[in-house]
Each structure stands twice: as C-alpha cells, then as structure tokens.
Amino acid sequence: MTFDFISFFILGALLIFVFVWVLHQPAPRKSVSKDDVSLEESGSTHITYLPQIRQALAPTDLAYLYERMPGPLAQKVQKQRRKIALSYISALRNDFRSLLHLSRVIATLSPEIAAAHEFERFRLSLEFSWRYLMIRIRLRCGATPFAAVGSLSDMMSGLHVRMETAIRELAKRSVLASELRSSLDGGGLDIT
C-alpha cells in the first residue's frame, strides 16, 4: 500500500460520506424564494423573555437567595437556574440560526454579493457553533456565568431590532416584486 493509494482511498471515502450526508439530510421544504423573507419566520424570538430571564439569572438575586434560604435549598435553586441558562443559550442559538438563515436567503436573492462578507459570515458561524458547544460543556460542568449570559441576550436583542427593520423593508419590496411579477406573468425575467 503506497501513500497515493491510501490518500485516494481516503479522498474517495470522504467524497462518498459528504455526498451521502448532503443528499440524506432533511431538505428544506422548498427552494429559496422571496416568500422566505417573512416576518412570521423570524418573529419567534426568545429575546421576548429577556427581562424574566435576566432577573432569574442576576447574581444579586442569587446572593439574596443565599442570604434568605438554607444552603441546600439555595444550591437547588442555583442548579435549576443553571438549567434555565442552558435552555436559554440553546434558544439563543435557535435565534442565531434563524437570523443566519435570513442572511443566507438575502444573499441568495441578491444579484451581487461580496465574497469577503460571505466567507466572513461562514467563519463567524463556525466560531459561534464552536464557542456555543464549549460554553454548554462548561455550564454542564457547573459554571454559572449568569451575567455574561445576560449581556449575550442584550447583544441578540440589538441584532433582532436591526434584522426586523430589514425584514420589514424586504417584506415591502417582496409585495412590490410579486405585483410586478404577476403583471409580467412570469415570463422568464429576473426582476431586480
């Protein structure tokens, strides 16, 4: 067995694995279209629960509990709040994904895109996924970064406000484009 034989064997196996993975992943419901740019899809935001979550995760709140409650009970509460933190960052990831989805739809439907922006977004999403995974592991190991999770929520909130403004703008354009499309009866045109 020589090096090139093994390398081509690995390459072939990799190609097969990736191809089968791509073809067998649950495909999106339909191909991307302007209808994807809808307010409903991106409207399900967990930022809505931010005030409650922040209060529940506030270090002062926890300190207060330790003052008033017996130790084991306070620990139990802390444990439960850690669970809340876990499910909250998991929900934030879903928000992140839906925003990422929206940005991809916009890229797909744009007549011109910047390669640098696309590669940057791809890199950032990989970075996010990696850090998210690491934080989950640490939270499970017992860390309680409640304040940091709260500021993460602030960040997502700002992102949402900007994106919702963009979505409204897109929705308006979508309606205009649909009217234009129906008036042209879809005659093989790209309406930009």
Binding site: V18, T108, L109, I113, E118, I135, R138, A143, A148
Partner: protein, 261 residues
C-alpha cells in the same frame, strides 16, 4: 470481436441501448434544449462506441485500437466536464449573486484537484493517461459534492431530475477514481476486471440518467425575482458586524465560565 469476453460485450450492448433510449427521450421531449451539452455528451459517447467497434474489429489489443480508445476517451472526458458545468448552472445560475461566487470556488477547487491528482503519484510513463483521467475525475466528483454543499448552505433545492443527473456523473467519476487507483496497484491481475467494472459503473449511471430524463417534463423557464443590490449591501455588513460582536460576547461568556470552574 476477438479479445472481448461475453460479459463486456453484453454490458457494452446494454449501454448502447440505454444511450439510444436516452437520446430518444431527449429528442422527443425536446429536453436537448434544456441540456444541450449533456445531449452532446451522450451523442459523443454513442459515437465512441461505433468508432471503437470498428477499431476493435482489427483486434482488441492492437496499438491502433489503444490509440483510438485513448483519443476518444480524452474527447469524452472534456465533454463530460462540460456537461457537469451545465448541471451546475442548472442548479445555481439563476441566483446570480451566489453563482458568481460559487463558480469561481468550483473552478479553483477543480484546478487544485486536477493538479494534485496528476502531480501526487510517482511518475511512471504508462500511468500518465490514467493519472490525467483520474485527476479530471477527482475534479468532477469534488465539484459535484461542493455544488451540493453550496446548495445546502444557501438552501437551494435542486430539481429531482437535475439532482439525478449529477448523481449519475458523480457515481461514474467516483468509480473511475477507484478503478484507476486500483489499476495502478494491481495492474497485471486487474486489467480485465477494470474494464468490466468501469463499463458497469457507466451503465448504472446511464440508467440513472435515463430515469431522470424520462421523468423530466418540459421544464418551465424558472423565474427568480431578485432583490435590489442595495438590500444586500445594507444588511450583509451589519449582520457580519453583529455576528462578530456576538462571538466576542460569547468569548466573554467563555472567559466567565473559565473563571468560575
């Protein structure tokens, strides 16, 4: 024909029948207008069968037959590459923005694949052609896999028939990579089996294409209403900045967890 065993003759005959059926469907349903390069590729392959048939009448192992086979294989490889480009265009070209990015990435990765496949193995003159062929096959298989990865990333769902055409090309290319690699290592014991398996893989690909073309109705000219370019240029940098800040924020969470643990 002298030198060809019955199994090879049988697979060859089946392939010709499948190609004729494929061309008939392409012609009757006027799908050659949708896939002109693919149609030309199938035509060329059928013509190659005819040319080789005449060449093999003089003897399967003669030098003239070998030269004819090599030349026609070269032409077919180029035609196959162009047919794959056509499939790629069908999947993504209506999304002008991402297509402009993707075709460059595909072209670059194909170039790298060809060069590495030709340059990586030790040079032995008798393997120059298989190496070049393998390089192109690696490039084609990689291009198809990347195409589907891009389509998945941008959530573009290709038509089932176009997908089947791509699967047929991918299958044949992958099999050729494996075949050419094994040929170099088991040369003396493998030549006969090599031609059997290669032809069989092509027949399977033909059947996949036949099924795709049979089910391919006259595809209406798809319209894709694009956004104005200002939308992207306004939103994309903002999203990237937000994602960057979000990652910074995650780093803070990471550091906080590190402090607490």
């Amino acid at each position: 024909m002298a030198g060809l065993d019955k199994a090879v003759e049988f697979i060859w005959a089946m392939s010709i029948i499948a190609e004729l059926a494929l061309l008939t469907f392409l012609a009757i349903r006027k799908n050659f207008r949708i896939f002109p390069t693919f149609s030309v590729y199938v035509c060329l392959d059928l013509s190659e069968s005819l040319v080789l048939f005449i060449a093999y009448l003089k003897g399967y192992s003669s030098l003239a037959s070998w030269r004819t086979a090599s030349l026609t294989q070269g032409v077919l490889l180029i035609a196959r590459s162009l047919a794959i480009v056509e499939v790629c265009k069908h999947v993504l070209s209506r999304f002008r923005g991402i297509w402009a990015l993707i075709w460059r990435v595909l072209l670059a990765s194909a170039g790298v694949a060809i060069l590495s496949s030709i340059l990586a193995p030790k040079h032995r003159w008798q393997f120059v052609l298989p190496n070049a062929e393998r390089g192109l096959d690696v490039a084609m298989a990689t291009t198809i896999v990347l195409l589907f990865l891009f389509a998945k990333y941008y959530q573009v769902v290709p038509d089932a028939q176009v997908r089947s055409l791509a699967v047929g090309f991918w299958l044949y290319s992958c099999f050729s990579i494996l075949d050419n690699t094994l040929l170099q290592h088991l040369m003396y014991h493998y030549v006969a089996l090599w031609s059997h398996l290669n032809m069989l893989a092509f027949l399977v690909s033909l059947l996949i294409w036949l099924d795709a073309v049979y089910n391919l109705q006259t595809v209406p000219n798809k319209t894709t209403v694009l956004l104005s370019s200002e939308v992207y240029s306004a939103i994309s940098p903002a999203v990237n900045l937000d994602l960057h800040l979000l990652n910074q924020n995650l780093t803070q969470v990471w550091n906080a967890t590190a402090d607490k643990t």
